[in-house]
């Protein structure tokens, strides 16, 4: 199932590497990623796909020190494709 997440993460390249590693390792396929630097944070928009429940990812991402916020967005029909 596809999910769209908005994540606020510290504006450091290692922070991006760290959370992308978690996405892969926990069994979620990355479909789309956009990030924008803003006030010392990266605002990340990400779409992932997996047969696993999404809370298995959001609960792991929320634990990362550099991740300040994780929000699950309702998927738009056209974005699901």
């Amino acid at each position: 199932m596809k999910h769209q997440l908005n994540i606020a993460v510290k504006q450091q390249s290692v922070a991006i590497e760290r959370f992308l590693r978690v996405v892969r390792h926990r069994g979620f396929q990355l479909l789309d990623l956009a990030l924008e630097g803003q006030d010392e944070l990266f605002q990340v928009k990400m779409t992932v796909d997996s047969d696993k429940p999404i809370y298995l990812l959001t609960s792991q991402l929320s634990k990362l020190v550099e991740v300040k916020q994780v929000e699950l967005q309702p998927m738009q029909q056209q974005a699901i494709g």
Binding site: V14, R18, P53, Y55, L56, S59, S62, K63
Partner: protein, 548 residues
Amino acid sequence: MTGAELLIDLLAKHGVKEVFGYPGGAIMPIYDALYGAPVKHYLTRHEQGAGFAAVGYARSTGKLGVCFATSGPGATNLITSLADAMMDSVPVLAITGQVPTAAIGSDAFQEVDVLGMSLSCTKHSYMVERAEDLAEVLQEAMHLALSGRPGPVLVDIPKDIQLAQVPFHPWLALEEEAPQLDMNEVVKAEQLLAQAKKPVAYVGGGVHNANAQAELMQFLNKTQMPAVSTLKALGSVLPDYEYDLGMLGMHGGQAANLAVQECDVLVCIGARFDDRVTGNLAKFASKAKVIHLDIDPAEVGKRKPAAASMIGDLKATIPHLACFVTDAQWLAHTSSMKKEHAWRYDYPGEKVFAPYLLNELSKRMPNTGVVCCDVGQHQMWVAQHMKFTSPHNHLSSGGAGTMGFGLPAAIGAQIARPDDMVITVSGDGSIMMNIQELATIRRNNLPVKILILDNQRLGMVRQWQQLFFEGRYSETNLSDNPDFVQLAAVFGIPGQTITHASEVDAAVDALVASEGPYILHACIDDKENVWPLVPPGAANDEMMTENA
């Protein structure tokens, strides 16, 4: 003050008295700052030994374990011990030297991207990019390693930052608000317990990390709930607790596994439904509703759904559950299973029977003694046949299952607790993985005792080859091992070899009575297996036993 001096100063200010490590080019300024410093450095003979000594130090005390390594291969050698600490939630601070900032990315001598390598095996990690950040990074790292669910934190420090003049600003750890316990979940848990006819407490390593043994025992004594433990929890439930059923899982006791399979409410206290615990997950405690207590919300529902979840420090959450008394019929049933499936030590053969030896050792060791295991058959026999009164006293590589853990972990534990007896129980496979640390024992004249259960095999792998790979014994024969007593003697460590059952009692006495380091090399039957065993893919009530 240089960056290197600041590091040593901060460690001292945070009460770190001992560190473990191995010097090299990119960490030389830190070793220079150590010279004559109040923080005592213990030189191991391999960085992995330093990492595991830090793990042993931390696990035997609950304090921060600290290890140092240089860049490149020094740091890569530390990685296994950090992965181990990550899996078992151990508070460790790893400091690695890095090539100078200007050389990073140039494939410089002994340059490895340590920060990149650390991502999957640390709770958090840093590479210090500016000298002015060093003080804050170090203080935050120490705080993170110990706070919440503990874990390893790595700080990679380029050599130029070690040499730079750095400012020191005390960093005040933000008072973290403990997660607010959701009282609705407490009510749900109470309702589940009120209806429970067959409850079981499933105790995990979180009790150790939360230092919540007293709260756990208060809960158990009040509720009289039968309790089962994970490998890491052993020692949390006191051995004289009447309804203790021991370890569950792949090599758990039959009473423990059967009780969990029959239970209707499973109170999971700081455990994570590891696959070695659950066997076939779909069939694990399939009649039970789960009440899950943990500090880490990510563990709740990760492997098994919870009907009620109490997130927070176990010291604070366990006392909420004490308003309950276990049904007498269920207690009689579990006690009867415990009696029926009690361990037996009346081995008929003339060879050394490892379970008997370990049980005798357990009886003769002081309650304050520490046992550090390696990984394999001997590790499971220790878990089955030795008793512990504190989880600080049983150090076993649980999640990672790292061979080579035992000897360096014992060194760390002995340095942390110089007045307590520390014994490493190893196998003839595992002991060779960090055998070089005999030199660390000798260098520091540590009274670490070593018991090797030698079946001239990689016993656990051989057991699986026998049972599940049609007896095709691929690369598990170690009959060309060195003479371990002679090997220890080279490092100035006395000892003896035994081969017969009749020698066991006197040999265990000699091991326990030795004032300094000692090695007891016990040759056991190479065909001895660990029983019971839950085969791969099976449910925990489908255990294989010796006579089945």
